[in-house]
Each structure stands twice: as structure tokens, then as C-alpha cells.
């Protein structure tokens, strides 16, 4: 199993950085373009949630991104913040639910992450931060077939 881990400040400009890091780290897997697009979206949704909901715009906190993959093309992505946490996880998972209606959010981030992943777990409680664990199985793993 190959692994990476990094931490960056909770600033919106780091969303692009997180997606790029994921893309570079997973490059050896030769995933299909569509699957890589889904992975960029997974990372983007998770990191954006940590920044805007977890830390509520505080730019000085840290977001942690961990990515791993095994020989069978199973990718694990873990995104952690130590922010305000989620008190009602079922509600947060509902399509179109957002606690920030006024800032033009759609409430689709969690639904998108569930759709693009094979397994999706949230570990969170009020005031205890939030960790999301995403697994995604690549379907064509060219490097394994070589």
C-alpha cells in the first residue's frame, strides 16, 4: 500500500492545491480520465467542507489530507478537520440540505461524494471536528495489467 499525508491551512486558495496533490500522487495508477475527474471532485468537496463549515472561514486552522492505494487500485482518501463538527450526520447527508443557504450553497457536496465513491463514512460530533473516509475502486488499472 502506497500512502501520502499532508496538512495545509484552511484557505480557499488551497482547494486547488489539494486537488493537484491528489492528481499527482495517483498518477502512477493510470486511472481513466473520468475516474480522475471524480477523485478531484471528491477531494474538492471534502476539503471545501472542512474550510467553510468545519472552520467557518478561519484561515489559520489546519486541514489534513491523506491518500493511499493498494495493488488492486483501491483508493482511500481521508480528510480531517478539527473544527465545529456535525451534530446531525443524517441531516447533513440529505441531498440539498445545507446549513449555509444564504451563501449560495446547494447542499449537494455530500451527495456527490456518496455518488462518486464506493464507500463513504463520516466520523464527527459537535465540537469534535470531522473526518471523512472515502474509498474508491478504480475499474481499469492499467499499471496492474502491465
Amino acid at each position: 500500500m502506497n500512502k501520502m499525508s499532508c496538512k495545509f491551512k484552511s484557505r480557499a486558495e488551497n482547494e486547488a492545491f489539494a486537488r493537484t496533490i491528489a492528481l499527482s500522487f495517483l498518477m502512477p495508477l493510470n486511472a481513466a480520465a473520468e475516474e480522475m475527474m471524480e477523485i478531484r471532485t471528491l477531494v474538492s468537496e471534502g476539503v471545501t467542507n472542512a474550510i467553510i463549515h468545519g472552520y467557518e472561514g478561519n484561515r489559520e486552522k489546519m486541514v489534513k489530507l491523506e491518500i493511499g492505494y493498494d495493488d488492486h487500485g483501491l483508493i482511500t482518501i481521508i480528510i480531517t478537520d478539527k473544527g465545529k463538527g456535525i451534530s446531525d450526520i443524517d441531516q447533513a447527508l440529505e441531498p440539498l440540505y445545507t446549513s449555509k443557504k444564504s451563501s449560495e450553497r446547494s447542499g449537494m457536496g455530500m451527495t456527490i461524494m456518496q455518488t462518486f465513491s464506493d464507500s463513504f463514512d463520516i466520523i464527527s460530533a459537535e465540537n469534535e471536528g470531522c473526518t471523512i473516509v472515502i474509498q474508491k475502486q478504480l475499474h481499469v488499472n492499467l499499471s496492474a495489467a502491465e
Partner: protein, 104 residues
């Protein structure tokens, strides 16, 4: 981003990665451009957009509401297959039109 005015029509040409960060830089400009002239039709062109996520859905839905308040019409143009699928998850094509090479 480029903005083109064409009679009673306003076209926004977006570029690059349209994430939460980029949209926070663009949003006020778009809101004001629409508010100033109340165009009958607004087109959001995604031809040169290489990335979009749920923040883009929220942005599109908010522009739909802004336009619908004075009966203006919103159209998304040149979405990739992936972008179309992402936007479709929210059901927004019940409110917003789509046009472009792939979906004429």
C-alpha cells in the same frame, strides 16, 4: 472570465477551475452585471471550464433565482458530460436550459 453583451442577452465565458475559491472571486461581478441591465437571457458558457463542483451548482441555482425574480431566462452552454452529470444530480435542469455541441 469574459462578459459579452449581445442585445438583450448577457454571456459569461468562464475559464479554468470553477471551485469555491474562484467563484468567490467571480460572484459579485456576475451578480452586478445582471442587476445593472436585467438582461432577458443570460448564458453561462462552460467550454473552457476544466473543473466544477457543488459550489458551481449553488452558484447556478442562485443566478437562476436572481433572474427568475424578474422573469429572465438562464441557459448553461457547452457543458462536458461530467459537468452535465454533476449538475443533473441536483435536478437543476428542471429550471435551467442547456445548449451546446453535445446537447443541441
Amino acid at each position: 472570465m469574459k462578459i459579452e453583451k449581445n442585445g438583450n442577452q448577457l454571456i459569461f465565458f468562464f475559464e479554468g477551475e470553477m471551485d469555491h475559491h474562484q467563484i468567490s472571486l467571480l460572484k459579485d461581478i456576475c451578480v452586478e452585471a445582471i442587476e445593472k441591465t436585467h438582461p432577458e437571457k443570460v448564458i453561462l458558457d462552460f467550454k473552457h471550464v476544466s473543473f466544477v463542483d457543488s459550489t458551481g451548482i449553488g452558484f447556478v441555482l442562485a443566478r437562476y433565482k436572481q433572474l427568475n425574480a424578474y422573469r429572465g431566462e438562464l441557459t448553461l452552454r457547452n457543458l462536458s458530460h461530467h459537468q452535465h452529470a454533476l449538475f443533473a444530480m441536483s435536478g437543476l435542469f428542471q429550471l435551467v436550459r442547456e445548449e451546446g455541441e453535445a446537447y443541441e
